[in-house]
Symmetry: none
Subunit: 203 residues, 4 copies
DNA sequence: CATGAATGAGTCTTCATTCAT
DNA sequence: TATGAATGAAGACTCATTCAT
């Protein structure tokens, strides 16, 4: 009966407490950032004693790890757009979703980045997440290049990284943007950059 | 940004010590991030005693403030491109500079961002810096729109923010990129997005 | 020594759980020492849940108390040598047993001593145990002095304490000794010190 | 100007504070044992703030380390007896010194042993100290065997360990003994055990 | 009997900052 | 100006113990 560290809760009550702690942690991390959050803040927010946090999470870092994992998986799911429709539509939809989900998780993503600056593990998690996203975009661009719908003059990987960064960066640095308002322009930029906006290109 | 202590150093020796401390601070902040840097690390790196740092800087935050101020002003100067040449050339040149200077100050910029997450003052400094940059880009776009060289379908402010974010975001998330290698693709994307690449547009 | 909780276990199952806990405690105490042993370690080793330990033992200290009580009584029994035979033989046999039993319970005895350093109750238990042993030895010496087989120049109590300490101390500080190997020398020293080795003494 | 951890104090004031801390630590460790001593106890006893302790010692363990080192070196010096005089006199003198120094450092030695039970580093330090002592005694016995003044029937190493343990063990387990009172008996036992008491031996 | 969730007192340790010299 | 000794607030983490189920 060896106990794994922070083994999952067995009873329903335990499950709920753990859930409450994760939610509380997400909230408090968002409000104060990682460094300025005390474990007891999280406990208090969850309505439990501060020792209880350590029943479910090995350390502050581990707690953040679980919050981040949940967040990224949630975001990842939301971002996955079906293969249906023409490229422009798919891109448009993807951008809209990105802008929406980013607006929603604004603060928490900032916090993860903050931690990643000083912690290689989180830096890797974030880099991987981003890399997967970019890889999907690059794949799409390559397919369009095969079909001669996107110019081969563009490096698919760099373009994917750049266009993804454009949307992420816009979202990150424009606090309080309204996804539905900015989405048309961003998508238009994206499509025109790739030459997918119906214009006749010279190359 | 926090102000300097009472007055700058008067003697030459003092001036040099202060300079050494600023340089040491920049180095150590880059290596360990803000939070993980101890004032004594900075002192040690500068070859002075622990308490000496406080002779020149009121607090750790003030020290960072001065480092950042110097950094941003240096970057700002470097980024200012002349008004000469056609738009494409100017944009190309601006992007190249941005990619180069970002590569150079990679870490320190990350660190500032890290701090900005938890400190409104630095957040503002960074936001202002970015806003000035974006405003200049937006101004350029608007001028081109006036001249009918850029479609009015694009919102100038959003476009400026997005394209700036594209370059900055690419630089930020692509560790070890070579400015000269990625620059053509990024500039091409930018120009095509604005319709400045010589292609005949449909709108 | 702390007393047992309200009453011993009533069911057979309870008796077995209790036994398992005692054995687990002995093992874990030996492995990690008292302070570094967590109650949950004991529970885990015994294959029961965390809280179960408190069903049978009032506290960590009480648990140790029972382990020690069992240990000392077991050792005490083993050490009791019959009155038969000449003194030299009896002493030889006693030493052999001591060396053997000490080797066996090496760690646990160290642990008790460790605790005794900070806990007067255990210090007393240990002192009493030792005192009983020494008293028996002293009694033997006094008898031999009465019979003029041991010089009156030796203080019986001090000698008893010293010779007992010699064997115990040897055992304690010579990790991995082989009882059968060192026993002859130790016994010889003991006998000669008392003048029981057949040599003609001058006094 | 790389700072070694806990670099030695530079000023006289620092030297004195460090000294006071070491003395305070020795006292408090003796009074409460290692585990029950809080760093703030030491600080308080030394009349400084609790943070100051960490200016001079890296950790609680390191602090104990220094106390022990000082103690053992002090004891070691005191124990070294000159080569002058006949063996019996030298042994007598050595025992007297041992009993005296042990009585003096009673508690602290116990504490070290307590810690050694759970900490291999201290266990080693103690073992080494003891081994050096025993080695010196064994060397003496071997010399006497060469000169035919001690029987070859005795294993020199075992005898040395045993007789040393006899004195140490007596000292350890007889709280409040008076060195001058018990010394004659202990020395007599030692000498007779080795056959150095002027009696004619049979072997 | 057994479980495991919950508690909270207890401490070490860090480090920005102050200050006497 | 420079030093380095001293401070003390702050916070993560441990674990014996309790208790509702």
């Amino acid at each position: 009966m060896p106990e794994q560290p922070a083994a999952g809760p067995v009873t329903e009550r335990g499950r709920r407490t753990r859930e409450r702690l994760l939610e509380a942690a997400r909230e408090v991390f968002e409000e104060r950032g990682y460094n300025d959050t005390r474990m007891s803040d999280v406990a208090e927010r969850a309505g439990v004693s501060h020792g209880t946090v350590y029943v479910y999470f090995e350390s502050k870092q581990a707690l953040l790890g679980e919050v981040v994992q949940a967040l990224l998986s949630q975001i990842g799911d939301y971002l996955r757009v079906g293969e249906a429709g023409d490229p422009a539509t798919r891109i448009s939809e993807a951008n809209l979703r990105y802008l929406r989900v980013y607006a929603q998780h604004d603060r928490m993503l900032q916090v993860v980045e903050q931690v990643a600056t000083a912690d290689p593990v989180f830096a890797q998690v974030l880099a991987d997440f981003r890399a997967r996203h970019v890889a999907r975009v690059a794949e799409g661009i390559r397919r369009l290049q095969t079909e001669d719908r996107v110019s081969d003059a563009l490096d698919a990987d760099i373009s994917a990284a750049a266009l993804s960064a454009m949307v992420e960066g816009y979202a990150r640095h424009s606090p309080g943007y309204r996804a539905d308002d900015v989405h048309p322009t961003l998508t238009l930029l994206w499509l025109r950059a790739l030459g997918l906006d119906g214009r006749i290109t010279a190359d």
